[in-house]
């Protein structure tokens, strides 16, 4: 399986480590009133889609970057790869109402 790294180009999947569902980026607010419930859901509840899935991959044998990879679990087709940093910044910007300025994702 080849992953098209947004900065480095096509790289073999053996250079990467799978780190789980990309929803792990959405860490709950630890000061919320219902924090225990939120963290329970964050840690234990996962979707298990037959189809498009967003997941975190770590480029351990490359530039040590974290990526958000959109992969089809039925066909293993990879349709989008973004730097997790860009995804996290875009989420922050959306939350605070600012315009997203990222867009280094590669199809």
């Amino acid at each position: 399986m080849i992953i098209h790294h947004p900065l480095l180009g096509p790289r073999d999947a053996s250079e990467f480590v799978y780190k789980g569902d990309a929803s792990l980026i959405n860490r709950p607010d630890w000061q919320a009133d219902n924090a225990p419930e939120l963290f329970h859901d964050y840690l234990y509840l996962r979707d298990n889609p037959a189809g498009e899935h967003q997941e975190l991959w770590y480029h351990e044998q490359g530039d040590r970057s974290w990526l958000v990879v959109t992969r089809n679990t039925l066909t293993h087709d990879i349709t989008n790869v973004e730097l997790a940093r860009d995804v996290a910044f875009a989420k922050q910007a959306n939350k605070s109402g600012r315009v997203e300025k990222s867009g280094r994702g590669k199809k």
Partner: protein, 192 residues
């Protein structure tokens, strides 16, 4: 003061060997200083690199080179660079700090890595057996750099001249790394 002095040895004790069409040499006259960029400090660092080394911050995968101390600068990770230059002393960071001051976080990596040069017309034949990347000059021309894995060992590969590649790997596994290279070199030689 003790009445003895310690002399550092290189990871492969100056290894050098010629095979048919390819030579393998340990390089041991270069220092490596890791440069980590402080948050929002990239512009200031770029300015000092230009005024001191006449060198620019490189894009991922491309070497920046300058004549001063034969400096080479390349990207190792996001916000992290390796500065490589001619030096055989024990205080490489002080050399760089004199020029860059406190604009970056510096770490001496010289003794953490082994440098091996693969050169000769068969160098790509040797590397194609252990390197998962396409290193044909059409996609990996002279001046390219990439970090990947060879024989399960993290390796940075630099295409520094025609038919010449520099490999950078961890010092702790230097002999295992050399064994992989030697085996590959032997496999490229013609069978009698």
């Amino acid at each position: 003061m003790p009445d003895y002095t310690l002399t550092a040895s290189t990871p492969l004790d100056g290894y050098s060997r010629d095979f048919v069409g390819v030579s393998i040499h340990e390089v041991n006259d270069r220092a490596i200083v890791s440069i980590a960029v402080p948050k929002h400090g990239e512009r200031e660092l770029a300015k000092l690199l230009t005024s001191s080394y006449q060198i620019e911050l490189p894009k991922p995968g491309i070497l920046s080179v300058a004549s001063r101390d034969n400096v080479v600068l390349f990207n190792m990770a996001q916000d992290q660079y390796f500065l490589v230059f001619d030096y055989t002393g024990n205080t490489a960071t002080s050399v760089v700090r004199n020029l860059l001051g406190d604009t970056a976080y510096l770490t001496d990596q010289s003794d953490s890595y082994v440098w091996v040069r693969i050169s000769g017309t068969n160098s790509r034949c040797l590397l194609e057996r252990i390197c998962p990347l396409d290193i044909h000059p059409s996609v990996f021309p002279v001046g390219s750099v990439a970090r990947t894995v060879m024989e399960h060992l993290g390796t940075t590969i630099i295409h520094d001249a025609e038919d010449s590649f520099l490999l950078l790997s961890a010092r702790s596994s230097a002999h295992s790394f050399l064994e992989a290279i030697e085996t590959s070199a032997a496999n490229t030689e013609p069978v009698n």
